[in-house]
Amino acid sequence: MPREAEPSANEKAFLLKALQDEQIRLDGREFDQYRPLELTFGDEYGVANVSLGKTKILAKASAEVTVPFADRPLDGIFTIATELSPMAAPHFEVNRPTETEVLLSRLLEKTVRRSGALDTESLCLVAGQKCWSVRVDVHVLSHDGNLTDAACFAVVAALRHFRKPDTSMENGVLTVYTPAEREPVPLGWLHSPFCVTWSFFGDEGETALLDADWMEEQVRVASVTISLNRHGEICQIAKLGGVPVEAVALLQCTSVALTKVKEFSTYLDGKLAEDAKRRDKGGFMAELRAENDRIVG
Amino acid sequence: MASSQHVLLSPAELAYLHASLSLTPPIRPDGRSPTQFRPLVAETGILPGTNGSARICFADGTEAIVGVKAEVERTRTRHDFPSLDESAEDDDDLDDNQNDVVKGDNDWVEMTVEIPGYRDDDAGTVFLSAMLSEALLADGEFTKRLWINQRFHWKLYLDILLISPPLSYPLPLLSLTTHLALLAARLPRLKSEGDEDPLFDDDWAAAPYLYPRPSEKGSKATAPAPAARPPVTLLVMAVGNNIIFDPSKEELAVADVALAVSVGESSSSTTSTTSSKPTAMDIDTEETKGHNLRLLSVRTIDPPSRLTPPGIPNASNSAYGANAGAKDTEKKKQQQEQARTAESEAVEGVWKAPRGGAKTLVMATMVQKVLEKGGVADEVLDALDGVDLN
């Protein structure tokens, strides 16, 4: 098993000294500044490509009809699958979840699934017999720190962009329509949570940074991931151990996180609207119109 | 494998231990007699959230907790031949309700063993749990206790936790704890009748024990007949011809053979029903007053002694001049010859991991020592009787 390469002692010392004595980050960002966040959608519905600096994440949503769990007959199934492959960093192995992967998938689970962002009841087709199983696969293409925030953004973007096939129920017969028959419909979406991760440095965690890159993550002494939506609702907070941090500092982190989440939210809304405009050619009816371009042979 | 963890004893220590255990009578490192058990602390009913629970702490600090939990489960009707089942039994049902057959199924009991630091699909853990459940289910009587009516049964979950790190082979500890937990287990009293959906009495005090007590006031038993009890599994080992019970980790490290013997005790009433087979010996059992023991299972445990490092006899130890001046090929050949005999033949005072199996006679004696009247199983069961069950 290849071990994660550790930064050298000099690199660590340099980073810390710059941070604490000069108040400068290695890449020159402000302490509460994110790296440039970019989002592109794929040709298909439900594919979101997110890059945060050198961290790149692809999320793909898909849906299929299955049998609901016996103990929750009225709910659909919603799963988030995260896999860190050797593509992202050499120390990740397939089929052997590292701690990073477990924590990442738990965070996504708590942020998106348990906060009820997706209305799972709307996924039910026939109670106890048929339901949609919505699945988001998160692929980390490149790992340069702060996987959590990027992955969470990608998952939310992919789900909000996704359209599932339309269905109808007549006389007990369930019909699933192809995209050609009926325009696919978006998922029942309730709110959009985003993760904001603070990293702490110094003996008492007195320096707090947003969006730490890989190098900074190696040196940090603690971190807290706060998930919020733009209505100011906390969906999840996780400070899983590490050096203790003043409670007041955590409260400040939360309020800064709220402004960041509002920025994310606006950015995503804008991107979705842009993409919808690009796709909107008037729908199926427009295609049938005679004004369409004809291929003149 | 849990029995063969590393024993940190030198070959010299092993040889000494083996020698002292081979004496007649054997001298054990802690001065016990061959059949003597280590002292233990036991309590039951420690977890009010369970149907029955027990905790045992051995003198060496190993500790186990067992919780029994029961849930009502719908009995699956067999899909084998439904048409036959229904047509044949539907009309029977009406008049046969009183004496319908109480049947059990081994799936009604689920046992899990947790050993800290070991995965639950580790070979050793699986072996332990197979051994414990094998003994419990061997006579087919146990699952019948879980029968409620034709449509429902209790599903019994037995969770066996070893709290301490596995210092010695945990089998006897886990088995004794399970025994006590099952003895202390109670199921709510059934209020409904026949095959209707089961309804239970809320009064926990009225709940009957899974294994009914023999001499409770108000019970119809005229004589204090020995009641059925859950099985106990005992660890027995042999060094030479000496048979030693409840071996500690160090003793097990020099064992020639180790056996796990499961012994159950059935009440005389159930014996008479199960052993309608006229075995000649059964006639005596009916008469006896003591424990009505039954042999349920025997398994060989791979003794960790096979993995111990061997000592090197002086003859082949170069530090003692064994190889000095061995230059010509003649001598070398001789040396090899010597080495070979050294490898196969025991040298007094030099430890060698046991090879091969055990003589049948020794094995038979081991089992007999457990089972004989006034033997170790009798003693253990008597001692467990002394544990206060609340």
């Binding site: 089929n95 | 349920l296 398994r299 038979a364």
Partner: protein, 286 residues
């Protein structure tokens, strides 16, 4: 644990069709009773060197009961002795690792690809049986893998799982595993003190309630009304030693004689199997 490495079938269940005539046949109660004498084991076929890529291998087949059921077919391959991975701590002995796996199609109930507790349990028994026979200190710092696949587990088509005889079948499987692994070890040229072979004996109750229980070797559970107790023994004939003993059943403690007889019969069965084993090995050498 979910099997994530393979594509699994769709969720949800379907009941298999049940044909009406099947129960008729069952209700007639046609049961093939045991035709062999009580102390004779079934015929078996053993061949070594079946897997060229392994250092040693063997194949064992035990004829079917003639009850429309299947026999036992086992294949064993031995890899090693070979160096242990560098991370393993020093061991003065060879480290055995045994894997017993039923093929998914070996029994009536489909077995998954991940080993279940029964298979792991069989592996432990096998390890105990073999470790007694191997001269382990001739290969310090090395390991050997013994892999057995049960290609066909013996099972009668007519008997259902409900009869609870599966537990006895595993004993027969274990005895086959021991014999075939012993042959494969010999084929691999790993030094043993003796060839170990497995044998099963059972205390059975035949049809008719008043018949006294009798002891038979190499029992086929479906041939008998009820199996009261059984034991599987791994025996080294020249040293007259037992390396593994597995007894299971329900015997009154006063019945020590029956227990002893059962063990003796088990040894007898093991000796018979050993004869086949030795013949097979002689054939290969000669």
């Amino acid at each position: 644990m979910a099997d994530r490495r393979r594509i699994n079938g769709p969720v949800g269940t379907t009941n298999p069709p049940i044909y009406d005539d099947a129960p008729e046949k069952q209700s007639e109660g046609v049961k093939v009773a045991r035709s062999r004498p009580a102390n004779v084991i079934r015929r078996m076929y053993l061949k070594t060197g079946v897997t060229p890529s392994a250092s040693g291998s063997a194949y064992l087949e035990i004829e079917s009961s003639g009850n429309g059921g299947s026999g036992l077919k086992l294949s064993c391959s031995v890899h090693g002795p070979r160096a242990l991975p560098r991370s393993t701590p020093f061991s003065p002995h060879i480290i055995l690792s045994t894997h017993v796996k039923f093929a998914p199609f070996a029994t009536k109930q489909r077995r998954g690809y991940i080993r279940d507790p029964i298979e792991r349990d069989l592996g432990t028994h096998l390890e105990t049986a073999l470790r007694g026979s191997i001269i382990a200190d001739r290969w310090p710092k090395s390991g050997v893998d013994i892999i057995i696949s049960i290609v066909e587990g013996e099972q009668d088509r007519e008997t259902s799982k409900a009869q609870g005889i599966e537990a006895w079948d595993t004993m027969n499987a274990l005895s086959g595993c021991i014999t075939v692994a012993s042959a494969a070890l010999a084929d691999a040229g790993i030094d043993c003190v003796d060839t170990v072979a497995g044998g099963v004996a059972a205390l059975v109750q035949d049809a008719g309630d008043d018949a006294a229980p009798s002891i038979v070797v190499d029992p086929i559970p479906s041939e008998h009304e009820k199996v009261l107790a059984a034991c599987c023994i791994a025996y080294l004939p020249t040293r007259q030693e037992v390396t593994n003993l597995w007894f299971k059943g329900d015997l009154p403690a006063s019945d020590m004689d029956v227990y002893t007889q059962l063990i003796e019969k088990g040894i007898q069965a093991s000796k018979s199997a050993n004869r086949v084993l030795v013949d097979c090995l002689n054939e290969t050498v000669g």
